[in-house]
């Protein structure tokens, strides 16, 4: 169900953050930024299978290939921003 999926995703996200925190000491601003993107993402996405799959994939990849650490962090930030509550709506000119 939705609640357990949300809890599982939260746990996976914390695992990702925890793992990356140890490797981003040179840029300590990166993890708070990732957490900010996460906090702004909409709740339904955060409790979705889609998010779990993305998280699981990023976590597995970063653990397997630390040389691409920022690639996976950036990927996760992008995904979270695309599911932001305050997603920017493109301006439309009135006729």
């Amino acid at each position: 169900n939705k609640a357990s999926m949300s809890a599982e995703n939260q746990k996976l996200f914390e695992e990702f953050v925890d793992y990356c925190s140890k490797l981003t000491a040179e840029h300590p601003e990166v993890i708070p930024f990732l957490q900010k993107c996460h906090s702004k993402a909409n709740a339904s996405y955060l409790s979705s299978v889609e998010f779990r799959n993305t998280l699981g994939r990023c976590l597995a990849r970063v653990q397997g290939k630390q040389t691409k650490l920022y690639v996976y962090i950036n990927e996760l930030c992008t995904v979270l921003k695309n599911h932001s509550e305050k997603k920017k709506v493109p301006l439309r000119t009135q006729p």
Partner: protein, 37 residues
Amino acid sequence: GAHAAEDEEEDDDDEDPENRIAKKMLLQEIKAGLSSD
């Protein structure tokens, strides 16, 4: 050092190029976000 300072911005030659680009983008975005806050 005939080719000293040839590539000033690239401080870590061993870094994965894709990782370097992603890091640069991420840091620029963080910087932009901080200045707009």
